[in-house]
């Protein structure tokens, strides 16, 4: 037997046991990318390094054998640094957008490509769910949003961006006119009360998400109806008031109560609200600094000073957002603030660390080259961007929406949730720019329609798929081609992916630690 120490605990293992297996016995989780039980070791990613403090050496746990006298540390500073460095290096050559640029530019981070695929596929219920995961008032925003998302659409490089905003409106309108419009499942009642002050886009959104999270929300506004400046400052032609009413109606279904004609000073003060409610969300729009001061809040140059990620003010349990913290009239941004404030308030009320909505790691391709456009166009429908035949105000018909939505390039990753590279990048604080290469590798994508998609740029050369096809005796299989920095995975004789992965496609896809190999039809995750 081999006797060693792992994180200060003594353990005995049989000769020939790897450090990874030894750690498993102690229920220690070691990160791995290239390793999968049953398919041997390749020892390539080096994420699984642990430190033997007896020799001072770092060694890959998946393949290093336990030896008597070893003193292994699995989370020491050198170990975490090495893991981070390995991830920095892997990310430095990663060619792939975790999420599409349109989603990242959208202040609400709506999962736009997914919505487009759902519209294209006629799955309207899923489409509105996707929209409402981030945007509480899409029918409103679909009429007034300047659509910053479309500026980021990669389709623009080929001809013109996808008509995202109108498609979102199409999804929202379709939902509102449905027999049973979508109402999110409300979390169990928390018994906590939240006051939302201001019923503009920020307040409406905050109320929607806070209500859905199980809190009892009361929205105060000086006007008699919700909608704020959207109702008063935008012409009814552009934004008919009944659209605001319809979306408010859905918010009410989440247990939200509206108290109109309620004025600051006369009807409420921050102190009274704090006494009556467990948390206060302030979104009363652009506010005079003196008034901010009278509320006992700190000011920055532009509005109320808040923590940028959580929207917490200096006063416990009080959150502020929208026009109140930064001037400007971008409703979608205020709406995004509303959702963030709801999430922060929820964390606060549950006694969790207040972080706001999780900010995920993003791998970004950045600018694409003209010769890469055809690579991206493979999965998209042809044709120019189209306007609704009956005019913008009328919106898309269903066939129009479907054709337009198909123009999406699917430039977002198919495995944003299951990608372990992304997961570890977050865990170890790795970044792509630390060792960013001078020239990024070309964008590549092999698509078997309805079958396998292979994106070379996301491959970490772990060779799991090579080992799987070998073990499962694929007649063609996959192999390493070339070597060194330029090594890549491919099929011999330039065979297609279908030929290479006759019986092992699903196994390879499930094993692939990144989004390099995926089923074309995959739709992952909910955030």
């Amino acid at each position: 037997m081999i006797r060693l120490t792992v994180n200060g605990r003594k353990i005995q293992v049989a000769k020939g046991t790897t450090l990874l297996d030894a750690c498993k016995k102690l229920d220690l989780v070691i990160p791995t990318l290239c390793y999968q039980e049953g398919y041997g070791q390749h020892t390539s990613c080096m994420i699984c390094v642990v430190e033997d403090t007896a020799s001072g050496r770092l060694m890959p746990a998946c393949s290093a054998l336990a030896e008597t006298g070893m003193t292994i540390e699995t989370e020491s500073a050198p170990v975490n640094e090495a893991r981070q460095q390995a991830l920095n290096l892997l990310l430095s050559e990663h060619v792939g957008d975790c999420e599409a640029p349109c989603s990242l530019i959208c202040p609400a981070h709506m999962h736009i490509p997914r919505m487009l695929r759902e519209i294209a596929g006629g799955a309207m219920r899923q489409a509105i769910e996707t929209v409402k995961a981030h945007i509480a008032i899409p029918a409103v925003l679909g009429r007034i949003c300047p659509a910053p998302c479309e500026k980021g659409c990669r389709r623009k490089e080929a001809d013109a961006p996808v008509s995202i905003c109108l498609l979102k409106r199409f999804a929202a309108d379709a939902d509102l006119s449905a027999k049973k419009p979508y109402i999110p499942a409300r979390s169990q009642d928390t018994g906590k009360k939240i006051a939302v002050v201001g019923a503009g886009p920020a307040g409406m959104s905050a109320a929607y998400y806070a209500g859905a999270l199980g809190h009892a929300c009361t929205v105060f506004d000086k006007e008699s109806k919700p909608g704020g400046a959207m109702r008063t400052m935008i012409s009814d032609d552009i934004l008919p008031p009944q659209i605001i009413d319809s979306e408010w109606h859905i918010i009410e279904k989440l247990g939200v109560v509206f108290t109109g004609g309620s004025r600051l000073g006369a009807d409420w003060t921050l102190d009274t609200l704090r006494r009556q409610f467990d948390a206060v969300i302030l979104c009363i729009g652009e506010t005079d600094p003196d008034i901010i001061g009278s509320l006992g809040l700190e000011t920055s140059g532009r509005g109320v000073r808040v923590h940028p990620g959580t929207f917490q003010t200096g006063t416990t349990g009080v959150f502020a957002g929208g026009g109140m913290i930064s001037p400007g009239k971008l409703a979608v941004r205020s709406s995004a603030h509303g959702r963030s404030m709801a999430v922060s308030a929820d964390q606060f009320l549950r006694g969790l660390p207040v972080t706001g909505p999780p900010e995920r790691f993003q791998s970004r391709i950045g600018r694409i080259q003209p010769d890469e456009i055809p690579v991206l166009m493979q999965e998209s429908g042809p044709g120019p961007r189209r306007d609704p035949e009956q005019g913008i105000r009328a919106g898309f018909t269903e066939p129009e929406a479907s054709i337009e939505a198909r123009r999406c390039l699917h430039c977002d990753c198919r495995k944003p949730e299951s990608c372990r590279l992304r997961h570890y990048a977050e865990q170890y604080g790795a970044t792509a720019k630390k060792y960013m290469g001078e020239e990024r590798l070309p964008l590549e994508k092999k698509v078997q329609p309805g079958g396998v998609v292979y994106e070379q740029g996301k491959c970490i050369r772990c060779g799991l798929c090579v080992r799987i096809t070998q073990k499962m005796k694929e007649p063609m299989g996959l192999t390493f081609l070339g070597r060194g920095f330029q090594v890549r995975i491919g099929a011999p004789f330039d065979a297609s992916l279908d030929q290479a992965l006759k019986s092992t496609a699903d196994l390879c896809i499930r094993s692939c630690p990144t989004g390099a190999l995926a089923w074309a039809e995959t739709e992952e995750g909910t955030s």
Partner: protein, 805 residues
Amino acid sequence: MIFRPLIFAVVVDSGQETTMTEMHTESFDPEEMERIIRNAGEKRSDLIPILQAIQGHYHYLPAPVLHKCCEMTDITPAELFGVATFFPQFRHRPAGRHTIRVCMGTACHVKGSERVLDAFNRHLALKPGEDTDRDRLFTVSKVACLGCCTLAPVVQIDDVTYGHVLPSGVPDLLRDFLGRESGSSVSGKSGAFTLRAETEIRVGLGSCCQAGGSGAVFHSIQETVAGLDTPVSVKRVGCVGMCHQTPLMEIVLPGRDPVLYARVQIQDVPKIVQAHFKPVHPVLKLKNHVARWIEDLYTDAAWKPVTRYAIDVRDKPVAAFLGRQLHISTEFCGILDPLDLEEYEKHHGFEAAQDCYVSRSPEAIMDEVIASGIRGRGGAGFPTGRKWSLVRSAAGGPKTVICNCDEGDPGAFMDRMLLESYPYRVIEGMMIAAKAVGAHRCIFYIRAEYPLAVQRVGEAIRKCTEAGLLGDRPFDTDYSLSFSIQQGAGAFVCGEETALIASVEGKRGMPRIRPPYPSEHGLHGNPTLINNCETFATIPWIFQNGSGSFSRLGTEKSKGTKVFSLAGKIRRGGLIEVPMGITIREIVEDIGGGCADDKAFKAVQIGGPSGGCIPASMADTPVDYEALLNAGAMMGSGGLVVLDESDCMVDIARYFLAFTQQESCGKCTFCRIGTKRMLEILDRLCEGRASAADIDKLESLAQAVKKGSLCGLGRTAPNPVLSTLRYFREEVEAHVEGRCPAGKCKALIRYRITDDCIGCTRCAQGCPADAIPWTPYKKHEIDTEKCIRCDNCRQVCPSDAVEVN
């Protein structure tokens, strides 16, 4: 400069198209395909020899033949492609009729091989990414090291080697090569031999040769030949490109290798001619003489016929070159005919093996090796005796002894020299090891770039087998022993023992984690002893002279002698064998005669891509495994390149990192991507685009790669960079400021013509970029915008009027 292996063209989509179209225009005879494949093997482990055979025939790997190979053998397409695209030796695109291999070894690098390569590309009008000219006459390739470091820069075209190549000499060189081909000579491709029909003496009468006095030499030869009764034609030939060695004289005998003499003086002519054509008694002696010259031609002392000749006559420092050395693995240097078995035996050859086979137990053999204190000559210095006893005591199937001659380090050619000159000694060392560890199978793993070594070793094995030394009953004992040769396929990483084993098994040459060590789990999972060629070459001496004689030499922890390839900016380069403990200063100054051209000695690069630079200020560091490690270098396999004040240390660090980056197998993240990112930073430094933060980034990355890489290649790859940062940080920082103090980095220097210009126009005539207007009798000017920093003008200027700053 980033090396771009050409093989990748086949796997990228556009390249594949090319292959497909070309495939259809060529027809492949099925029977011929079958014959080639069948003759080379059928097992998975025969994959590399099969691919080598296919390429040997078609000059690349045509897809139909690869299909056939998968049909005929149990090798899968995935296995085949994995291997065929791993080794740089294999081509997937049709090649030109002749292959030009430009040596990128360290010695060649410091003497301007990049410029030579540029000159070939320019002359053949190759665009970036192309390697073959439009007429498909020449394919230009880079080779890590041809192991002819003293001839640097070196270029090989097919079987012809050109030394001291100047960029400006490239057109003449190609003309010369094509002239040889179309002339009366018949070239056959039997290894390195070039067969010619008639006996002739050729004298270089190119312009440089004439300047060197070859006209007078030519007349002297004619006179001497007239007195012989053998018909010999004396022929004038054009420039052969070795202008530093003029006058040149080549003796071509039917059926033998041509012998080339450099720096021939008139008074030497009769002696040289008589040595070849006048019968000398005993006949054997003549044979040996010629064989030795032949050997010298193809080995590193290729210019030794001259050097050695000079010893007898005049040059004193050259005697010192020999005198300070101690020959153990190179014993009887200059005396033994490499392939004369009888002669080797007369010099006590195989006595040690006989003693071990007849009278010693394996334990007794091992005790002797342990007592000698010898450590592995491959670089890391693991005690040889301990390695042997690990293999001896390992349980498992049939054991194998492998001689690691995959000498890929740029700037190292010890293995090549040992194999070409002392094949019997290496065989004897391996025989002793086989007995000691209980192995019955021995394999030589030799680089394919060393065709003569492969040929000599093959011949030596054949002769030993015929003589009964190998086979079923060596020395009438019942210990059967078989020897074979496996040729490498151009991957430096295969010098790492687990990668070497993978490639012998017919797999991609990728290292795996150790332990288990090959001593337990080696070839096909069985215990395997892998030692470096030099280690084996030292073993017979230890048994002949006793372990005590060996362990008395050297330092406390480093015993015996070490062979080095001494090259670079040195007056006398070549292969040397010195006792451990000798200082670097003694090697450079006493043996090497100091730097050439009266330049100041700046540093030695020792240990190649795994080693580092030791500055002149630390020249008293002894040659000792630990002392070199402490100094930030490494014994390595023994490349020792001397650098002078005109060498840029950042450029040297970049050069080595470019090498390891290119040679990375691509398995582990740290080496695959880490070395690439380090190289990018070094590129920025050399091009004046780096920031001060880049230096810190480089250092932290170097540490990460050193600690995190899987195998020795990656773990040592940062050493040249770290030693440069340690000893030459100011020089690195100067590059951030846009200065290259040594005046080497192209992007940071300018060429200027001084008032010393005599208006001879030679610079203007030679400028490949038309950057110098032709102004006879007037001071010339260089257009910096057009200048490509090829250095031609400076080299051709007769009045040293070209200044670099």
